[in-house]
Subunit: 196 residues, 2 copies
DNA sequence: CGCTGAAGTCAACGAGTGTTGGCCTACAAT
DNA sequence: ATTGTAGGCCAACACTCGTTGACTTCAGCG
């Protein structure tokens, strides 16, 4: 947090350290098992500081998670390649640097925590669905809103299923496949859900 | 548990009550949030009894979960229909009566618990992969073991993704779709992973 | 210097957890 | 009826958690 005129404060570094440690812990342990004490220890700070800066564990989680799918502009992508482009995009996002794995952090927490669940629902409704609506539906007709929502849901089911089996459950065959193989084999699935 | 000669004991009913309550709680709350006290309360029993019967929470979980996919015999199913049959099978399993939702219970717990994760890996390796191996690969050739494993992984990613978005995250469009629609739209995906 | 307010430390509280051991109860066999 | 034993309950332990309030340290400024 900066001053009102933008001058940095001494506490900025601490705040960032807490947020970074929180993101790593939440992503690897989930909301419940990520303890304030562990996060504070990672940030080399007293647990009380976390409360001072963020008020409560729930508010720290809300501040740490930033569910931005960062969907690229798909309007310039050839329609036939939409599926593979989307799969490649998500694979790259998940394999990104630590502290940026908001989606995995949300996914792991959403299994038990209701706030994380709601956040997940909102993320997909507000970010994925509009993009799919812009893409347009099947061959000629304009897809109705219900049809768009269904497509978004199906796309989410495959992409989140991929994140689940690869990064959370770590099913060996899914972990073993490299990026290109996954794009090659899962891409057509997404493509069909988009323009099938 | 019956006596050595099969004679039922007085404790059998209690044991079953604990297991039933445990399955419901583990499935709806996950391993961490499902407390021994809550399970005991549901079974109208003292928490200490749970320990007496099962020794520990971890052993109770191990006893409660029964990850049997109950995959049907696919050898008599026409190849073209394999995808839809599999999707329909899993949808029916998840919508079954409470106390039988081992897969959801495992899935919810696997987000944070490592034992549940390992159990999940073993379940798919030992039940799904052999069935797919029996089905055989693409057009003519015999699929190698690596190829079969990859197919099983991809099938798992879509089916578990469906379970995740429909029953755990409860994304509205996925929840709204009825059984037949899902079979119709997800079936071809599984079909392609199986025989693509 | 001294003063002020922010930044950080420390110890503790209260609630909830899995787990344990002692005690009571009821049934079956003698 | 007495006794042995399995089934059940109660209270407590040891621990971890999020959270709180009082205390100390430090930077900046007159």
């Amino acid at each position: 947090m900066a001053d009102i005129d933008g001058r940095p404060r001494r506490s900025d570094a601490t705040r960032r350290a807490i947020l970074l440690a929180a993101r790593v812990r939440f992503a690897s342990d989930g909301y419940d098992r990520a303890t304030i004490r562990a996060i504070a220890a990672d940030a080399r700070i007293d647990p009380a500081m976390v409360m001072r800066y963020f008020g409560s564990k729930a508010r720290l989680f809300a501040a740490a998670v930033d569910p931005d799918l960062r969907l690229p502009d798909l309007s310039s992508v050839p329609r036939r390649r939409l599926g593979k482009v989307l799969v490649a995009h998500f694979l790259d996002r998940w394999e990104g640097d630590p502290g940026d794995d908001s989606l995995l952090m949300l996914l792991r927490s959403a299994a038990t925590d209701d706030v994380a669940r709601e956040r997940m629902r909102h993320t997909f409704a507000s970010q994925l669905t509009p993009v799919l609506a812009a893409i347009g539906g099947g061959s000629d007709e304009v897809a109705g809103p219900d049809e768009v929502a269904e497509r978004a849901g199906l796309v989410a089911s495959q992409l989140l299923g991929l994140a689940l089996t690869r990064h959370i459950l770590r099913l060996p065959p899914v972990v073993a496949m490299d990026r290109d193989s996954l794009v090659e084999r899962v891409g057509p699935t997404i493509q069909r859900y988009l323009t099938g």
